[in-house]
């Protein structure tokens, strides 16, 4: 059961290595859609281990998964503001906060996702679907440069990235609804 701990820690170290870090941050879409999610993956692996080690603590503070989920939504929304990506590049305290808060999201997700049950999961899923669509529209349609550290073409690329994610999520919903699962399971 130590395996997730090692995977998480290793991935974390790789992401912290300065050349890798600065490369990822030099391209807007990699920064937002690869580095940030990978930091959450780090937290998810570490979370698997920590929740397994101390289930009682999580039971006490996050019994139904809702408090955890609220924080997850808040922190991820926070990192989707155009400003925060910029600040992470120019102000070290934001960068440090990024490397702490996003693994925390992953950790909370590992604990909360199963706890919020079907209804909660569907709610969160649709919430993110519309949020990504909105972000895609914001970055594509904005006539001004939202981030000082990135060029407007990078901003457009990121917009298309968000649209792609939204489309994939819709496809997932459609196949979930229309494909008859019973036959596959047989």
């Amino acid at each position: 059961m130590r395996k997730p701990l090692y995977i998480g820690a290793l991935l974390y170290l790789i992401l912290i290595i300065p050349p890798i870090r600065s490369y990822m941050e030099s391209i807007m879409i990699i920064h937002m859609l690869i580095q940030l999610p990978l930091l959450m993956v780090v937290g998810w692996f570490l979370g698997k281990y920590i929740v397994y080690k101390a289930p009682k603590v999580f039971h006490a503070i996050n019994e139904n998964g809702v408090p955890g989920m609220i924080l997850i939504v808040a922190i991820t929304m926070y990192w989707m503001l155009p400003r925060t990506l910029d600040e992470a590049l120019t102000l070290p305290q934001y960068e440090v906060f990024k490397f702490i808060s996003l693994p925390l999201v992953g950790l909370l997700l590992a604990d909360s996702w199963a706890k919020i049950r079907d209804v909660g999961q569907i709610f969160i899923y649709l919430n993110y679907l519309s949020m990504f669509a909105l972000m895609g529209w914001l970055y594509l349609d904005s006539p001004i440069q939202l981030c000082n550290n990135y060029l407007i073409t990078q901003q457009k690329t990121l917009g298309w990235g968000f649209i792609f994610i939204t489309a994939s999520m819709i496809v997932y919903v459609l196949q979930y609804v229309f494909i008859d699962r019973r036959r596959i399971e047989e």
Binding site: I61, N62, N64, P67, I75, L81, R83, N149, L151
Partner: protein, 210 residues
């Protein structure tokens, strides 16, 4: 029942933390982009214009302190720029037209500072300023030759310049309104020249009366 209360409290707690996160992260829901945050920070700090040496389109060289006692409305540009700079300068020209003639040069100086000193020599600046009817005296265009001074100035005023890979630069744009002692008074929206002119005249007239 006790358990429900416990869960409810935890939910409230996480909501409060989320609220604090956004409140601090956006300066009290005011600044959602780094540009607005930059303006917000500069307005708090009110940095002094660092002492730099300017070389203008008439090949005159002088320190910025020469403008002491006068207001300065300035922009950062480079002449090879094709997108935002012409717009920025055109709007600066609109502000310039709206300032009463008796104030120009006496109470206020317009200044366009190039951050591309290699290409923007006095001759280039001279040509560029003709496009905007800038006379080179009450509205000057100048470069800063010393790289250290230039970087210090851009840093102090939070101007971020990134090379776009094809010989140009991308940068954030605004009108910077500098007071009589070189202190930054205000950052004005360059897309609202009427408003900027109004504000500038108001400040100068208040100062003359008071």
């Amino acid at each position: 029942m006790n358990k429900r209360l416990h869960n409810l409290l935890l939910i409230c707690f996480s909501l409060v933390i989320s609220f604090i996160l956004f409140f601090i992260g956006t300066n009290g829901f005011q600044a959602f982009t780094a540009e607005s945050a930059r303006v917000y920070r500069l307005m708090e700090e009110k940095p002094l214009f660092p002492n730099v040496t300017l070389e203008d389109s008439k090949e005159r060289t002088y320190p910025f302190t020469m403008f002491q006692g006068k207001y300065v409305l300035l922009t950062f540009i480079y002449t090879a720029c094709t997108d935002v700079c012409p717009k920025l300068e055109m709007n600066l020209a609109k502000v310039y037209e709206r300032i009463p003639a008796e104030l120009l040069g006496k109470e206020i100086i317009f200044l366009s500072i190039s951050f591309d000193p290699k290409r923007d020599d006095p001759a280039t600046l001279e040509k560029y300023q003709a496009l905007f009817n800038s006379d080179g005296d009450t509205w000057r265009m100048a470069r800063i030759m010393d790289e250290v001074e230039l970087t210090a100035l851009l840093d102090e005023f939070g101007v971020i310049v990134i090379p776009d890979g094809s010989g140009g630069f991308t940068h954030n744009s605004a009108f910077y309104f500098v007071g009589t002692d070189g202190e930054l008074l205000d950052i004005l929206d360059f897309q609202q020249p009427e408003e900027a002119a109004h504000k500038v005249v108001e400040v100068i007239q208040n100062n003359m009366e008071g």
